[in-house]
Amino acid sequence: MKLKIKILLANPLSVMGLLLISLVFGSAIFADFITPFPLHKGAVVDFSNFNQAPNLTNIMGTDLVGRDLFTRIIYAFRISIMLGVVVLIISVPIGVFMGLLAGYSGGKLDFVLMRITDVFLSIPPLVLAMAVMGLLEPTLLNGMLAVTAMWWPWYTRLIYNLTRSEKEEGYVVAAEVVGASRWHVMFREILPNCTHAIITKMTLDFGFVILIVSSLSFLGLGVQAPTPDLGSMVAEGARYLPDSWWLTVFPGLAILIIVFGFNLVGDALRDMMDTDS
């Protein structure tokens, strides 16, 4: 394990990824202390200095109703992280369970489960999420629901394939021979051998979930005002380009930092796990 961490730290890109992620998480956790105007996360109006370019008091400028953009971005990190965590916490277990069940059982169950998965996979993710959001009210909770609905099939597919190959391994047969139940084989024998893939994919996905949720918000279907959200901030500011460039550039950069950071760490984890063999 120590060696693994050494390998991780030896790669400057992974270190950069880790730094970016810690920056995002750190600022999100301590948002109340580091932001200059904590009140600006909500419905505050300060028309006396609306749409200000970046200056010393508002280092990233202010938005159309005079709220400090820096403060709002830091609070938006919170929402983004929460969304990412919740979506993954719900969709990963569902996807993993379905994949294990289909891969290990085979036969009809395999066919039915995987065809359902295929149906979900065949719909473009954003379209599916938009459809769900269109049906339901565009709230934060429904946003999570929509993204969750489109996220689990990827895990089903991943774990299904892994299970299919692990199933033929000697230790699985050995476990069956000593009378292990199917649940035992699925969760105690096969699943631990898939964790590396799950963790890697989750890390990579964290960024993508945030990206998708931001896209939804950008389209006005995600997080609703006055809750600060990176996607809706970009959408609001887009109308005032290029004059009020700070309205879009800073939230956009914030999205970039999150996604980039998680991608770097995900790649690093994948390399780290690969050295296992």
């Binding site: 036969g107 000697g170 050995a174 000593v178 009378g179 292990a180 139940s181 024998e189 051998n193 964790t195």
Partner: protein, 293 residues
């Protein structure tokens, strides 16, 4: 026949393909008594391993496998036994040693954890501490003295020979009545194989465990088994006590098999003959069937 642990009668197996059925086993009769070491010898593809899989009930659930005949374990018809019954037999009454010991253990668990799990099948809710003490004793029996290190290791951290001995200890952990050894140690080199087989031999003798020893290595079989079954293309062509088979070989296939054993002193490659029409003539049983059908 109360002494019989395993009794296989008129067992035949075929696989249903898309267009045809392939017969794999034909009318197999085989029995093992308590504490007896029985070897099943034959060439690759003769159907040795599928017999083991049938005994363990692994094949019956497979699509396309047609199993006929009866397999009785201690008088219990395995075909008729419920899933739970079979599951409780496996690991407690019947256990198995595999060809490749390293891949037969889950790489994510330490040996100690694997022992805990196996022992838990024999004695429910055994504590980890007690399981480890028991495991150390078992490992000592297979001549692993540094059991502390072994129990703390992952399977891939140990050598093949070490894993093989761990496998033997695991297989005998719950003192099974029947041990199926499917070409144990074929993946290992000869010296290590000889060592571990000797250990296994002593242990099963001590525990009075019946063994079905599946092998193509006649030298090993001669040392290990009390009785030998010779299988050729899914049929048992000769059976008898080890000494009678080796000293008084009757069946032409068995003779060919014996001749194929490489001798250190011979200067050229041995002449291995396979697929002679003579081989298909069983020396015994199959009375009820016409040959060549």
């Amino acid at each position: 026949m109360s002494d019989s642990i395993l009794d296989i009668q008129n067992l035949s197996l075929s696989f249903q393909g898309l267009t045809e059925t392939v017969d794999v086993l034909d009318n197999i009769n085989l029995s093992i008594n308590r504490g007896e070491r029985v070897a099943l010898v034959g060439a690759s593809g003769s159907g040795k391993s599928v017999i083991a899989r049938i005994i363990l009930g692994l094949l019956q659930s497979q699509k396309g496998a047609i199993v006929k005949g009866s397999v009785r374990f201690r008088g219990i018809e395995l075909e008729a036994a419920t899933g739970n019954q079979i599951e409780s037999l496996r690991g407690r009454e019947i256990s198995m040693i595999f060809q490749d010991p390293t891949s037969s253990m889950n790489p994510v668990y330490k040996i100690g954890t694997i022992f805990h799990e196996i022992l838990n099948r024999g004695t429910h809710n055994i504590s980890k501490k007690l399981a480890l003490i028991k495991a150390s004793k078992l490992l000592e029996e297979v001549s692993i003295t540094e059991f502390k290190r072994v129990l703390e290791s992952y399977p891939f951290q140990l050598s093949g020979g070490m894993n093989q001995r761990v496998m033997i200890a695991l297989a005998l952990a719950n003192k099974p009545a029947l041990l199926i050894a499917d070409e144990p140690g074929t993946a290992l080199d000869v010296t290590v194989q000889a060592q571990t087989l000797k250990l296994m031999h002593n242990l099963v003798k001590k525990n009075n465990t019946a063994v079905l020893f599946i092998s193509h290595n006649l030298g090993v079989v001669r040392q290990f088994a009390d009785r030998v079954y010779v299988i050729y293309k899914g049929r048992i062509v000769e059976s008898g006590s080890t000494s009678s088979i080796f000293e008084n070989t009757k069946h032409p296939y068995t003779k060919a098999l014996m001749n194929a054993v490489p001798k250190i002193t011979s200067k050229s490659f041995f002449d291995a003959s396979d697929d002679s029409s003579l081989f298909k003539q069983p020396a015994f049983h199959h009375k009820d069937r016409e040959i060549g059908q």
